[in-house]
């Protein structure tokens, strides 16, 4: 699912393909800037020309997204229109249709299983630019800075290089074919995009294949069809009023949760040592656990189970690891490591909102006589579970979620959280009950110390000697 980060960026670069170039007044001075502008002008002309782009009001495309041989291709359909409107629908195998859209002011995402969310305003600028069918007519606005760099050669092909500074102050390198004038490659901070398979569609020359390479992997988008100036009847760019209202309600609930958990005071906590007694009353098992946390994200969890010896897990900033008498030593990775880091985050309560951009307001539920608001929280990686927030206090009092118990082990459980106490200005739950048909676990905090000195060495991996 991590592929969907570049996917999102890639989806919008796809929309930007219909952009050619247009000359305009050049705010940048200097010979390098003029040289770059000349190359861009030529690019606009070979891509279709200013006249043609002025007539381009909207575009509709159908494409497939190829993530490589191990993952099936997925289908995508997109529309972009003037005024910053766009809509992209991707058929994800795990969750069904994922919609990313904008009405020109607000960018939002929606999926039936994962929920609805508004895109962080900080990410909106690039998306708006990439979705504009007439982006090329506004080069000076979107790329106020540009300069020509030294030519380069990639795979034996000579290329002209332009550096552009975007209106939201990011820098990109564009690699242009000196023979055709077409743009063959763009390098951004987190990804590189290659353009190929240029075809004439109407008056325009578009790349029908774009390959995106980034930390999340490689994704190749292949256009199947493109319609210029399609009718947009029935294409929904605007979220529903209900979705916007629910999103606002959830944001209020999550902000309230963050505030009651400590809010800005969470940042004052640099270290925490928590002693926990764990009981499984049905099986008679009892053990002690000690959790040591230190910013930025160091953690050590030590558990001693009578009869089974000690079990330890940790993260030292580089390596997630575990060691136990029964299983030996291993590295933690993937979702298992991420779960450890999430649970160990001293700012966890403040980050729920950012980590779960997709939400579903499920409504009021009564738990143990308390009124709560139930919210489904998710990201593009999948559902994080259902969270219940006390309507009066704002505390998180129940989570229904999946716990990762190993590289291929997942257990669904209900966690009831209670006995909140203020320690150094932040709220800590002193009791958590984890309930699953195969186990019933009561975790009770017996002691908490915060901001005590902790040597980084304690988090280092402990291998068998």
């Amino acid at each position: 699912m991590k592929l969907y980060r570049p996917l999102l960026a890639g989806l919008l670069v796809l929309i930007s393909l219909m952009s050619g170039c247009a000359t305009g007044s050049n705010p940048s001075a200097g010979a390098d800037a003029r040289a770059a502008t000349k190359i861009l002008k030529h690019w606009v002309e070979v891509s279709g020309g200013v006249k043609a782009f002025k007539k381009l009001e909207s575009v509709e495309t159908q494409a497939t997204i190829d993530f490589g041989p191990l993952v099936p291709d997925i289908g995508m359909q997109s529309w972009s229109a003037s005024g910053g409107r766009f809509r992209v629908e991707v058929n994800t195998p795990a969750f069904g249709k994922l919609i990313t859209a904008s009405d020109g002011k607000t960018i939002w995402q929606q999926n039936e299983k994962l929920g609805f969310g508004l895109i962080d305003p900080k990410q909106q600028a690039e998306m708006m630019r990439d979705s504009d069918p007439q982006e090329e007519l506004k080069l000076d606005r979107y790329y106020p800075g540009r300069r020509r760099l030294a030519d380069t050669s990639i795979n034996g092909q000579k290329l002209q290089v332009i550096e552009v500074r975007t209106f939201d102050d990011t820098v990109e390198k564009w690699f242009m074919d000196p023979v055709t004038g077409l743009r063959l490659r763009v390098e951004k901070a987190r990804e590189a995009i290659e353009f190929s398979d240029f075809r004439l569609t109407g008056d325009f020359t578009f790349a029908y294949v774009t390959k995106h390479s980034g930390k999340g992997g490689v994704m190749t988008v292949r256009l199947k069809t493109m319609v210029l100036n399609p009718k947009l009847d029935g294409v929904v760019f605007v979220p529903s009023t209900r979705e916007i209202q629910d999103a606002a309600t959830v944001t209020r609930i999550l902000d309230g949760y963050s505030a009651v958990s400590g809010g800005a005071r969470l940042a004052n906590i640099q270290t925490r040592v928590t002693h926990v007694t764990m009981e499984m009353p049905k099986t008679g098992m009892k053990s002690e656990m000690k959790i040591t946390q230190k910013r930025p994200n160091f953690v050590l969890i030590e558990q001693t189970v009578p009869g089974m010896g000690q079990s330890v897990q940790g993260y030292d900033g580089k390596t997630g690891w575990a060691n136990s008498e029964m299983q030996g030593y291993r590295m933690l990775k993937g979702p298992e490591l991420q779960q450890l880091l999430n649970n160990a985050d001293l700012d966890a309560e403040a980050k729920v909102s950012a980590q779960c951009p997709l939400r579903t307001l499920l409504g009021e539920r009564v738990i143990d006589g308390r009124r709560t608001q139930a919210v489904g929280l998710a990201s593009l990686q999948g559902s994080n579970g259902t969270y219940y927030f006390d309507e009066n206090s704002g505390h998180l009092v129940r989570v229904e979620s999946s716990l990762i118990a190993g590289p291929k082990s997942v257990i669904r459980a209900t966690m009831d959280i209670s006995d909140f106490r203020q320690i150094d200005g932040v709220s800590i739950a002193f009791k958590t009950v984890v309930d699953n048909p195969a186990m019933y676990l009561i975790m009770t905090v017996s002691a908490v110390e915060q901001n005590v000195p902790i040597d980084d060495a304690v988090f280092k991996p402990r291998q068998d000697e």
Partner: protein
């Protein structure tokens, strides 16, 4: 996550507390509800579990004492037709050193051979030795009950031959591990075919004991590890007890690059299942899974994590009908991964991960919490692990002090070992 605990016909307490009616009801309800809430298959394999409650609840008032209640509960649990559902009498549950008198020993090791229970070994100086028992003797009856009849009853009930052998071995073994000082009349057939009855008196287990883990009681444990001059390591332990993990690890780490390893799981009824994955990590150089537990709400994979300086030589695993539960997880997982070759006889097919609760009566209730499948999707429960080389150890082999299973494993190891180039 435990191996099978036996429930035998040696129940001797007819406890009946003052509020017996309440205790009886509460116990019945706890047993039924636990299965109702925790059984891994919410459809109970097609069994109407609610109807089962009705069927046995009407008989509850007739359970005049704990002995009767145990039988009623066990009958109800037997409707599931699965292993790892058992009422374990408090009289045999050891949690403190003082409790150890509850489980004695007469000094015999028993195995099933061709549907009979045979003495495989006799501890020198033990009660069994004093009574003249010898390897190769067949146990014909215990407490007046014919072993053959018990076996026939199991066969009629449709259990597999391996499970029948497991059960009849447990049937005999139970009374022979009765409380210290208890006497059990046993009819024995010698190698010469002559029958005799001996009274075996249970003595204290003076060896090592496992640590209790929650409601899982302490048990006598035996451990044997040796390496012969030919470089074949032999590892045998009576149960998967965490207390033995360090010894197992130390032994395996001490093996040489050209050595071979025989892990003898014959007669090992199981124990802590996570140990199977841990032991496998000491004999593997890559990650793999031994199988997975499918619970009602979740799945747990017994992942093997290779340890540094893991043993890389050939590994043979010996199993028989007495190998159950965690023994089967280990054998099947290593077999499917191709990391070990399995010798002997089909295992018991009793491989459901389980937990133990304490009942209001003071007895223990063992219940399965998950189904278990191998990496290839094979269900071990009811089927068992089939050896790569099917070899039975007969009564005659035992009389002659031969172990053809072990011999075959050693021969295979010798074929597969790396040979150092001549200097």
């Amino acid at each position: 996550m435990l191996g099978l605990l036996w429930v035998g016909p040696w129940m001797r307490s007819d406890e009946k507390p003052a509020d017996w009616g309440q205790v009886r009801s509460a116990t019945f309800d706890m047993v039924w509800s636990t299965v109702n809430d925790c059984y891994y298959d919410p459809a109970f394999g097609g069994l109407d579990w609610k109807a089962v409650r009705g069927k046995y609840e009407v008989r509850l008032k007739d359970a005049a004492d704990n002995h009767a209640l145990r039988r009623l509960l066990q009958q109800m649990l037997d409707e599931l037709k699965q292993t790892h559902f058992a009422i374990v009498p408090d009289e045999v549950a050891v949690f403190t050193p003082k409790d150890r008198v509850k489980i004695g020993t007469v000094g015999t090791e028993l195995v099933a051979a061709k549907g009979a229970v045979v003495v495989a070994d006799v501890t020198p100086g033990s009660a069994a030795a004093a009574a003249g028992l010898r390897p190769g003797d067949t146990i014909r009856s215990v407490n007046g009950t014919s072993v053959e009849r018990v076996g026939e009853a199991y066969a009629e009930a449709g259990v597999t031959a391996a499970r029948r052998d497991f059960n009849i071995t447990q049937f005999v073994s139970g009374p022979l591990h009765g409380p210290v000082g208890s006497e059990v009349p046993v009819e024995v057939e010698g190698a010469d075919g002559k029958l005799r009855t001996v009274n075996l008196k249970s003595e204290a287990n003076t060896g090592d004991w496992s640590e209790p883990m929650g409601n899982f009681p302490s048990m006598p444990i035996e451990f044997e590890a040796k390496r012969d001059a030919a470089g074949i390591g032999y590892l045998k332990f009576s149960t998967f007890s965490p207390k033995l993990m360090k010894q197992i690890r130390t032994f395996i780490r001490g093996l040489g690059a050209n050595d071979g390893l025989v892990i003898d799981l014959r007669g090992n009824p199981g124990g802590l299942s996570i140990m199977a994955a841990g032991i496998s990590g000491w004999i593997s150089n890559k990650e793999f899974s031994l199988g997975k537990m499918q619970m009602r709400m979740g799945v747990y994979s017994f992942d093997v994590f290779p340890q540094e300086r893991a043993f890389a030589g050939p590994v043979a695993v010996l199993i028989d009908s007495g190998s159950a539960s965690t023994s089967e997880i280990l054998a099947a997982g290593l077999q499917e991964e191709g990391r070990a070759r399995i010798f002997g006889e089909t295992s018991a097919g009793a491989a459901l991960p389980s937990a133990i609760q304490k009942l209001p009566t003071g007895d223990l209730f063992q219940y399965a919490i998950a189904d278990l499948t191998t990496p290839h999707g094979v269900t071990l429960e009811g089927a068992g692990v089939k050896p790569d080389e099917q070899i039975a150890r007969t009564r005659e082999d035992i009389v002659e002090a031969k172990d053809p299973v072990f011999a075959a494993a050693c021969a295979w190891i010798d074929q597969g070992r790396h040979v150092e180039p001549a200097k």
